[in-house]
Symmetry: C2
Subunit: 121 residues, 2 copies
DNA sequence: AATTAAATAGTAATCATTACTAGTTGGAAG
DNA sequence: CTTCCAACTAGTAATGATTACTATTTAATT
């Protein structure tokens, strides 16, 4: 992965934001620095940065993905308005509520490379 | 939520399958029972069943969502081929591997209704 | 049996994301 | 420093999963 002006700016936007931006939001912020940056470039870099484990994707239940810093924390996601709240103090012994948010269920996903894909190439 | 033939069959397909079907896969299985069922009906019912917490959605990193039984278990998802593996014996003390799958990172999401949305109606 | 809101089939529309193309550039190797 | 080329970019077109729409049907209550 080469270091380009576009990629560095996109990574910086994600790392310095606490807004859980979607691709278009990143695009808008990136245009402040590079006015003619292409939306396709933003998508391509968000994907490659995610593959390189430099940023994270969040599926919030809406039709668009959101992007997040690569920092150890968890999320509460509202199933009505799709708001994302960062969690730094998760206590699994009592998760019926988190602060004043009502928790209905939780999901744990391990991500990685499966046995078959490890064998390839 | 009314009980319809279509909705009951869709719920039954999800509950009796271990394949983590996507919407089109559910549609294909549903057509075996109701040949002229509409794809829109499948999408609409998958959404309403999920809102009613009768089934679960899984985001596997691909461009389509997948649907799962509402049963307490977790998932390993391969970031290369998007394979989903059910986990019934998650041990958080050692998650560098799960069986022979290499775990790169994990995500925990609490889902529910945020403080603001609880106030509404 | 009448009523009506919710659901359906079939089709059209949306729009987030990806693909494509011609031109540009990072950075490795001489 | 120059050459070189795979990786990258801007701009635009295409894709396709999902949702919206409309006329008709139906669950289930009174």
């Amino acid at each position: 992965m080469r270091s380009t002006k576009q990629r560095n700016i996109i990574l910086d936007i994600i790392n310095s934001s606490y807004e859980h931006l979607d691709a278009y939001g990143v695009y808008e912020k990136a245009r402040e620095k590079i006015p003619n940056i292409s939306l396709g470039t933003v998508y391509r870099n968000l994907n490659s940065l995610e593959n390189a484990h430099l940023i994270n994707v969040i599926f919030d239940g809406s039709d668009k993905l959101r992007y997040d810093r690569n920092e150890n924390h968890q999320h509460f996601i509202c199933t009505k308005c799709h708001k994302i709240i960062d969690i730094y103090d998760l206590d699994f012994k009592n998760v019926k509520t988190y602060q004043n948010n009502l928790v209905m269920n939780y999901k744990i996903v391990l991500e990685g490379i499966c046995e078959e894909c490890q064998k390839e190439e």
